[in-house]
């Protein structure tokens, strides 16, 4: 564990303004980051998602909450899984959905991001679901859209992926409802992971007992301790007595950037195997945001094993996104 002692004297970095995400009466308007959101609101999202989790078992999988609303999936970065679950969630809420996959290089050359937004606003849309390669893109868009439009962050650079984090804590909650006693390890490329940043914030906001990050120094961002985590470079220590293991996807391009020597050595040091998992609590659950690199960050025996809840995560992803979309548009409709 490495804690830089000289930093403890400093005040933690100030939270982002929650104002932009919430209405004057404290309800969700945009969903950009977990940071700055109160615990009660996160619990409301989880409870609302719980009510939607049953919708999939109905013969008609739709509720009419967002009938007549138009939701635009605005994806500046390729994504299949996240975009699909957002689309499915919107359709189950009876909204009209427009999918726009915008070639980022084209916008760099020509139309600016603001111009793109103005054009879409002019079509009387109600919500943008945004994915973008730059950190801060969702904030930027939320600051510049017309007041009647809600923005949901579906991943911005390395910054945040708040719906992923919420579906993760939703999944944990189904298995282990008392967060105060939980020890959770997030393993892998923390440095480049928007998922990890949002997970850390969500877990700490919900009062998790201990959050750990595990990885080589090249993949752990500096001063990450200030987000409220313990850092481990040794996976055997990092997994000891944990209740939850959250694996992260390792991008292949990390080998080129001299961050790691090889996939082989990474798996030798940090790959999750049944043997490694034996130091964790007996009822440990294993999670992964997908898509999985089998044999790189996780062994198939674990990914497909009894303790894996990876496919549950995908299922709950739809309920969480239904909850966030209905709350954001609902907050506005009632104003």
């Amino acid at each position: 564990m490495s804690v830089n002692k000289s930093l403890t004297a400093l005040s933690p970095p100030g939270p982002l303004s929650a104002d932009i995400q919430l209405t004057a009466d404290g309800r969700l308007h945009h969903f950009l980051t977990i940071e700055g959101l109160p615990r009660t609101l996160l619990l409301e999202i989880l409870d609302t998602a719980k009510s939607f989790a049953g919708v999939k078992n109905q013969a008609v999988k739709k509720v009419p909450l967002l009938r007549g609303k138009t939701i635009v999936n605005l994806f500046f970065e390729a994504s299949t899984r996240t975009r699909t679950t957002f689309e499915l969630a919107a359709k189950r809420l009876s909204a009209d959905v427009l999918n726009l996959n915008i070639n980022y290089t084209a916008t760099v050359k020509g139309e600016s991001l603001l111009d793109t937004l103005r054009n879409l606003e002019a079509m009387y849309t109600d919500m943008f679901v945004v994915r973008h390669a730059d950190s801060g893109a969702a904030q930027f868009i939320a600051k510049h859209v017309a007041p009647h439009v809600s923005v949901i962050n579906a991943g911005d650079g390395r910054h945040a992926h708040p719906t992923q984090a919420m579906l993760d804590v939703f999944t944990i909650r189904r298995h282990k409802p008392d967060f105060s006693k939980l020890c959770i390890a997030i393993v892998g490329d923390i440095m480049h992971s928007r998922v990890a940043r949002s997970q850390i914030l969500a877990l700490n906001t919900l009062g998790a007992g201990e959050v750990r990050v595990v990885g080589p120094k090249t993949l752990i961002p500096v001063e990450v301790e200030r987000l409220g985590v313990r850092v481990f470079h040794d996976i055997a220590q990092g997994l000891k007595d944990v209740d939850v293991v959250m694996m992260l996807r390792l991008q292949k391009e990390r080998m080129q950037g001299a961050l790691l020597p090889s996939e082989h050595e990474y798996f030798q040091l940090y790959g999750l195997t049944e043997k490694r998992l034996s130091v964790a609590k007996p009822d440990v659950i294993v999670m992964h945001p997908g898509p999985i690199n089998r044999g790189v960050e996780i062994a198939s025996e674990v990914a497909d094993g009894a303790r894996s809840v990876i496919l549950e995560q995908v299922t709950y992803g739809i309920a969480i996104r239904m909850a966030v979309m209905s709350m954001a548009i609902g907050a506005r409709a009632e104003r």
Binding site: P13, D134, G157, H159, V222, R226
Partner: protein, 425 residues
């Protein structure tokens, strides 16, 4: 025109002057202090009781955006803003488009600056052809055309051998080399200080070592080549200490810092505030304190604006996609006075850092009120409060994080060669 400036507090750090007295100006020069020269017929008197009279400011680092980026700003617009900011000499960097790497570009800038007539414009020429870091620029020609130094600005020179040769050649032309200690590989296309804020916001980080590692290499080459070198825009406390140590070891080096690095830190990025996107990046509170100490002990001899005016679109994007830089001419003196208020420097030393200090580095006859020197003068009212608003800015760049800040001390007159080039409305 013979001009008398009466009853002001005249502060001229280079000559140790700080008293309430009169200055007499004629033929574009300072003719005398305290008493008028013999047979001095006064054409005009400025009674500046209660005001402070200082040498016109010398700003070491200004982007005028011309040639090549006139949609951001022009020589005319920015020199006019400089005059309103009390700046009578400024130095522009060679990273224009095309780069200032031949007498043709030097002459173009000189002519446009002369035509505008607001401010003396000095030029640092390119160290390598086209700033590409591969072959040497024609430094002797640049010097003959009037360049006061050479620099590769923030463009990398990947091959240390090229850098060594460039330093040697500059040394033989008696040109000061202005060096940004910035290792591009370590910076790795980052856009914020690698620290708690970048980690929280998921911004690609630039480690402090991008500056200190580069500085270590540069110091070794300076020692090897014997070139007179100036370190531009320090951002870390460690680099400030390295300069102090190098000076102590007898190396001919100097250094500057931009004013905003003495007031802003990574924390000011807050909620992805692109106005705080700078290069080098805003660092930590400890770095800010270390830089302030460097300024106080004099190892950082100059403070500059590092003025970088932008068009609106340059800052209207997600943080990493925005262009770095602050439109900073019009807050320079105010920030200096705030350093005095905050007890970092006494007033004469603060004035010195933006007058005689940078003039000495550039080797130009400016930054003093010595008898016989050009009558470049700034006069300000020390007790007037004002707040910086976008509509008050004369620069075409409105990109400043100091909007809304309230300052004490307001410029009333700027004189260039004895002529009033700015007068407060």
């Amino acid at each position: 025109m013979n001009l008398a400036i009466r009853r002001g507090r005249v502060i001229d750090p280079a000559n140790g002057v700080d008293r309430i007295t009169s200055l007499f100006v004629g033929g574009g020069q300072i003719l005398s202090i305290d008493d008028p020269p013999a047979d001095f017929g006064i054409d005009r008197t400025l009674d500046v009781e209660g005001q402070i009279v200082i040498p016109g400011l010398v700003d070491m680092a200004v982007r005028l955006r011309e040639p090549g980026q006139e949609y951001k700003a022009t020589i005319a617009s920015e020199t006019r803003a400089a005059a309103a900011a009390g700046i009578t000499s400024l130095c522009c960097l060679p990273d224009t488009s095309p780069a200032i790497d031949s007498p043709a570009e030097v002459e173009l800038v000189q002519q446009r600056a002369l035509a505008a007539g607001f401010c003396r414009v000095y030029i640092i020429g390119a160290l390598t052809a086209g700033l590409k870091g591969q072959t040497l620029s024609e430094m002797a020609a640049l010097k003959a055309a009037g360049c006061v130094g050479v620099s590769n600005a923030l463009q990398p020179i990947d091959n240390l051998l090229v850098l060594r040769r460039a330093m040697e050649y500059a040394a033989s032309q008696r040109l000061t080399v202005h060096l940004y200690p910035f290792d591009h590989a370590l910076a790795n296309q980052g856009c914020a200080h690698e620290g708690a804020v970048a980690t929280r916001l998921g911004l690609p980080g630039i480690p402090a070592a991008a500056e200190t590692a580069a500085m270590g290499q540069l110091l070794a080459l300076i020692e090897q080549t014997g070139v007179r070198a100036h370190f531009c825009r320090l951002s870390t406390a460690r680099a400030a200490n390295m300069v102090t140590r190098a000076t102590h070891d007898g190396l001919a080096v100097s250094a500057d810092v931009c004013a905003h690095q003495l007031f802003l830190t990574e924390e000011d990025i807050g909620d992805f505030n692109s106005l705080c996107h700078t290069l080098p990046p805003l660092r930590t509170k400890q770095d800010l304190e270390g830089l302030r100490q460097g300024v106080a002990r004099g190892s950082i001899i100059a403070i500059c604006s590092d003025h970088q005016p932008h068009d609106i679109d340059a800052k209207q994007a997600p943080f990493p996609a925005t262009e770095p830089g602050i439109s900073a001419l019009e807050s320079l003196l105010s920030l200096m006075l705030r350093l005095v208020e905050e007890g970092v420097l006494n007033l004469p030393d603060a004035i010195e850092r933006v007058t005689a200090g940078p003039a000495g580095v550039l080797g130009i006859a400016a930054g003093t009120l010595s008898i016989g020197s050009p009558a470049d003068i700034c006069i300000y009212r020390p007790d007037e409060h004002w707040s910086l608003t976008a509509d008050k800015l004369l620069s075409h760049g409105r990109n400043t994080p100091f909007l809304g800040w309230t300052f004490t001390g307001r410029i009333t007159h700027t004189l260039l060669g004895g002529q009033i080039v700015y007068q407060a409305p």
